[in-house]
Amino acid sequence: MTEGAKASKRIARWWNLWFWVALLLTLTGVYFFFWFPSRDIGPVQPIYFSHRIHAGVKQINCRFCHPYVERGEHAGLPEVSKCFFCHKYIIPKHPQILKEKEHLDNGVPVPWVRIFFVPDFVKFRHLPHIRYGKLDCAECHGDVASMDRLRVNNFQMKFCIDCHKKKNAQLDCFLACHH
């Protein structure tokens, strides 16, 4: 075996090794990015609020905290002071409640991370969906009552159109969403 052949074999092995290492790294990356289970549990919120406990275990009606869902465009967010309707008495010394209390006392709103949204050129209104479509919140927002952190649902147009077709709702671009 000549020195040249030896060298080319070594280079081939070198490249072979690199190929597998690169593939492994890519696959690991892809796995962590797309399939890793904990990715699916939704973004971390500034206060560890659990929908599972409030909507699931305690069975609080969605409309208690999101009262405008039948009245307008937005469902509405509970104001900081609303938390203390209950938490003035229930676990008031819990570290997360204390953190929330700090927000209330300082008058600084909690910057909740937004989970459900549509792009700016989609003019979504809750009112018709709840009032006329008689949809349940869970049909779009998922089984909130079983989730601690809410899972993101990327509303693509197909999501809307499928349902609109099924329910025989209006399909006009302008009159419905895009104006």
Binding site: Y68, E79, V80, S81, H126, L127, C173, H178
Partner: protein
């Protein structure tokens, strides 16, 4: 880092680049910000409405402000308020750009050592003011403090008077309005015995003659008059009342007249005297009492019709025609401008017009002196001149200025700015920077009218309330609060026993309520007036007609010698008023009704005169009078007679913020400095300018393509006789219905559209349209239409969805308007050419433009015969806080997207939801589009053609109906009604 070699640099560059790309992949996080404690009135996503009063000019129209999530996004007229009646003019619609003006003072400012404004705290600013006042009060003297404000009334006027008297000052409050109507007041005193501007009512007249009074533009209460004009002038049944305009320039108002009597500047009085003489000579009104006849005969002895016509430079036949109409009319009336700065002999003209009115005492009720307009309180130019002299001689120690800008609007020769230098302290309370405020030592910025508590009474019997319709945009305070807190600092709690201005305001109204005989619960009265937007007791009945005086009056003889140079007419426009609107971006962007010019002033010269003088469009010329000079670009146009030039006021600001500065030109600086001895107004002896070409040019950013419609029939007129003949014979208009019944196999290639529930449509009555452009600003505000500014307008890239196109009649050279917007054709040429169906026909007949689908081929615009589609050449942005005005219900379009009128689709959706909540379909009149909502004359009517009872369904069968470019078989859903013309003959 110094050892970084090329290889390492490339490595680092690669790593950073990859990192930058990767981090760009994920969308930035969005946040939801909750309230700490929710405000009472806010439901997220649902608008709250508050009644307030427009303070852009002294007309005082009632407004309803639409507030979404704490930000005011739209204003509309208050339907129950007697002045606005639910409508707003262009300036009222644009008032939000004053609130969100990025050049407002962000907080108190003190002039530093280097001459620049430096921010200070409110505490420090007010302490400085209070110590200045204490020092003046200690030294004594009753005229050392002057408070120069715009026209304020009611509680704030009361508080100012109280404050000044506590400080030991007398006559310290000077109300400065550029337009004080000195001549009108003087003429009313001479003829009717009342030194006042009355409340006018034109809607039940049958003949009106205006001597240069631009009642549809800026004159006294232009929106109210435009509404009344909408009742007075358009065709009713088979009759149409007559309107004659006498003046030197074809203004928007003149162009709405049935007859424009063109005069030499300042000779309108001759026409009025000629008319009186013609009526007397012809015995046209036999009912005139003999004493009156003798008096008028002696006044007009020198003015036979021929001589009057020769003086005015008009055809004597026109004077006879106007006289004939006046005599025949049951309720004729005459008005005159009465602003001496704009025209020579303004007092003479106003007296002559009043004398003309006295010929028919039955219609004198049109001017109600029992309810004087608040303009009657404004200081005359003479007292402002006195103030300037007192300032210069050092008699004044402290000048407080609130929203008045005399440095801009007074004659340059008076040098108000120089006089301000002689005043040791000048404190500005204006909300935004202007030429006067920028010379102040201390700025304590007040709230804009949308952020303030207060009231404003435009005339006796009508008080509009102001309440904060949103939180403050900048660190500003109420003027009343500043008065109370500085008053406390100087004179203590006993003299100013209020917490702030609000309890003082309530106290004022509690007294007023008791005085007017109110006995109920004050709190419920208060809540009621806040909700309704003001207090206008219904019980005030029109006062008796004024007693007619017989003043001796000398009218200037007919043999006046014209001055040397080009005669110049200076005139106010509907957009700019006296220039105070120039820092509103919308006002700059909306084309002038007559010249269609945006972003910059101009001088109008008749095209033939321009040719003779070798002046082309956009040539900068210097116009020089004995008192000042301006540089202004030439615009050859037919709005002025040959040999006359005209310059609009309002532009030419130097320190008025980024949108107004540096645009030509301010003609106030050409005004003569003398005063009229009789009225105390500025004495315009005729402005004659020497013209010199500077060699430079300033491109005129106009939006019209041509003066002529080239026979295409965009505007169409019909004479009254012909219209009546057609109506009598039952002729149906030739309309291609935008409905299945408009389908004809012989000419239609595509099948017809079936509509579900509604077929939205608009009727534009061109007999009602006065060309004012309020609809355009309403649309800009409602639909987030971008403002493109001067450079882009010059390239023809303005974004307006609705425009008031102006053409000139090829023969008469009178202007004709046509309101052009997307025609929502049933057979739309734009829809067929789009490769991706971005324009698409909806089931309710609207032509949709789907922004997120559009990728900007512009084929639709190319194929659109009406040229109403607008392309976003850039992502046009709005400097903060102007973007707070954006309507959250409408997508903000970005670069590369086509857009156009949507028939206010967001309002349609809202109305449908409202109706569905009530368990019914949308009814005619439930809602309307933003343009139709604000139209003062109701020229635009919106509705569904599937409802046979709707107004549009009935109007499209009017004999006057036509469609634009109907020969293209587009089947437009916007249907026009022809303008009705009538002759005025002797």
């Amino acid at each position: 880092m110094q050892n970084l070699n090329r290889r390492e640099f490339l490595k680092l560059f690669g790593v950073c680049g990859t990192g930058a790309v990767l981090s760009g992949c994920s969308e930035p996080k969005r946040y939801l910000i909750p309230y700490i404690d929710p405000p009472e009135d806010v439901t997220p996503g649902v608008a709250a409405y508050y009644a307030t009063t427009c303070r852009e000019c002294p007309a005082g129209c009632g407004m309803i402000a639409k507030n979404r999530e704490g930000r005011t996004i739209k204003v509309e007229g208050n339907p129950v308020q007697p002045i606005s009646g639910g409508k707003l003019c262009m300036r009222g619609q644009a008032s939000l750009h004053g609130l969100y003006n990025p050049d407002r003072f962000t907080g108190p400012m003190l002039r530093g050592a280097a001459g620049q404004f430096e921010p200070v705290s409110w505490e420090k600013g007010q302490t400085i003011l209070a110590s200045t006042i204490s020092e003046i009060v200690r030294r004594g003297g009753a005229g050392r403090i002057v408070f120069l404000t715009d026209l304020i009334t009611g509680s704030l006027e009361d508080m100012t008077a109280h404050w000044l008297s506590e400080m030991g000052q007398r006559n310290g409050h000077v109300v400065y309005e550029t337009y004080a109507y000195e001549s009108l007041r003087q003429a009313n005193k001479a003829v009717f015995g009342n030194d006042a501007v009355p409340t006018y009512r034109f809607d039940d007249l049958d003949f009106l003659i205006s001597f240069n009074a631009d009642l549809l533009e800026t004159w006294i209460s232009n929106l109210e008059f435009a509404r009344q004009f909408g009742d007075f002038h358009p065709i009713k049944g088979d009759k149409k009342n007559k309107f004659v305009f006498v003046g030197p320039r074809l203004s928007m108002t003149a162009n709405n007249a049935d007859l424009w009597i063109q005069t030499r500047p300042g000779t309108e009085y001759a026409v009025a005297l000629g008319i009186i003489r013609a009526i007397l000579d012809g015995g046209l009104m036999p009912a005139i009492p003999a004493g009156r006849r003798a008096y008028l005969g002696s006044i007009t002895a020198n003015w036979p019709v021929e001589k009057a016509a020769a003086t005015a430079g008009c055809d004597p036949g026109m004077i006879r025609a106007a006289a004939g109409e006046f005599a025949r009319a049951a309720r004729p009336f005459a008005i005159s401008d009465g602003r001496s700065m704009f025209s020579p002999n303004a007092t003479e003209t106003a007296v002559a017009a009043n004398l003309l009115c006295t010929l028919n005492p039955r219609s004198l009720g049109a001017a109600d002196f029992g309810r004087p307009h608040s303009y009657s309180k404004t200081a005359t130019a003479e007292s402002i001149k006195n103030l300037t002299d007192r300032m210069r001689s050092g008699e004044i120690d402290l000048l407080l200025i609130h929203r008045a800008n005399p440095v801009f609007s007074l004659p340059g020769d008076w040098d108000f700015a120089g006089a301000m230098k002689s005043v040791p302290s000048v404190v500005s309370l204006s909300p935004a920077v202007d030429e006067t405020s920028s010379l102040a030592n201390l700025v304590l910025p007040t709230n804009y009218s949308f952020e303030t508590w207060g009231d404003y009474s435009p005339r006796k019997g009508v008080s509009g309330f102001l309440q904060p319709v949103m939180g403050r945009v900048f660190n500003t305070r109420d003027m009343g609060d500043i008065l109370v807190s500085t008053g406390k600092k100087v004179k203590g709690e006993n003299s100013f026993p209020w917490r702030d201005f609000h309890p003082a305001l309530q106290g004022y109204w509690m007294r007023a309520y008791k005085d007017s005989g109110g006995s109920g619960d004050f709190q419920s009265f208060w809540e009621d007036v806040l909700m309704r937007g003001g207090y206008w007791p219904e019980s005030i009945s029109p006062s008796p007609a004024p007693t007619i005086q017989t003043p001796a009056f000398d009218f200037p003889g007919p043999d006046q010698k014209p001055g040397k140079g080009l005669p110049v007419v200076v005139y106010p426009t509907v957009q700019f008023f006296d220039g105070r609107m120039a820092n509103h971006m919308w006002v700059q962007e909306i084309p002038d009704p007559m010249t269609q010019t945006t972003w910059g002033g101009w001088v109008e010269i008749h095209p033939e005169t321009a040719r003779e003088m070798d002046l082309g469009k956009g040539d900068l010329i210097e116009m020089k009078t004995d008192f000042g000079a301006v540089e202004v670009p030439v615009l050859p146009i037919y709005t002025v007679p040959k040999g006359v030039a005209a310059i609009p006021v309002g532009q030419g600001h130097t320190r008025f913020g980024r949108f107004a500065d540096g645009l030509p030109a301010n003609p106030f600086k050409l005004l003569p400095p003398e005063l009229e001895t009789v009225s105390g107004g500025i004495r315009n002896t005729g402005i004659f300018a020497a013209v010199r070409k500077t060699g430079g040019s300033f491109d005129i950013a106009h939006t019209d393509g041509s003066f002529s419609q080239h026979g295409r029939g965009f505007w169409q007129t019909v004479s009254l006789e012909e219209r009546n003949k057609m109506a009598a014979s039952g002729t149906m208009p030739d309309i291609d219905y935008p409905l299945p019944k408009g389908y004809e196999e012989s000419k239609d290639f595509y099948p017809t559209h079936e509509h579900k529930d509604y077929r939205w449509s608009m009727v534009v009555d061109m007999d009602r349209c006065i060309g004012c452009g309020a609809c355009v600003v309403g649309c800009y505000a409602e639909n987030n239409v971008a403002v493109v500014k001067r450079e882009q307008v010059l390239m023809g890239r303005e974004m307006s969805w609705i425009r008031v196109q102006r053409y000139f009649d090829d023969e008469t050279k009178l202007a004709r308007w046509v309101v052009m917007l997307c025609q929502h054709c049933d057979n739309a040429p734009c829809e067929y050419v789009c490769p991706i169906f971005a324009p698409q026909h909806s089931v309710e007949g609207i032509n949709n433009q789907i922004y997120n689908r559009c990728f900007g081929t512009r084929f639709c615009s190319q194929n659109d015969p009406y040229k109403v589609r607008r392309f976003n050449w850039y992502t046009f942005s709005r400097p903060s806080p102007l973007k707070w005005q954006l309507n959250p219900d409408v997508t903000v379009r970005q670069k590369g997207v086509m857009e156009k009128c949507s028939f206010c689709i967001q309002r349609i959706i809202e109305a449908k939801i409202d109706a569905r909540n009530k368990g019914r379909k949308v009814k005619d009149g439930d809602f309307t589009t933003a343009c139709a909502q604000t139209c003062p004359t109701n020229a635009l009517v919106f509705g569904s053609l599937l409802d046979p009872e709707s107004r549009v369904s009935r109007m499209i069968n009017d004999v006057r109906a036509y469609q634009v470019l109907v020969e293209l078989n587009t089947k437009p859903a916007v249907i026009y009604l022809k303008r009705v013309t009538q002759e005025i003959v002797a």
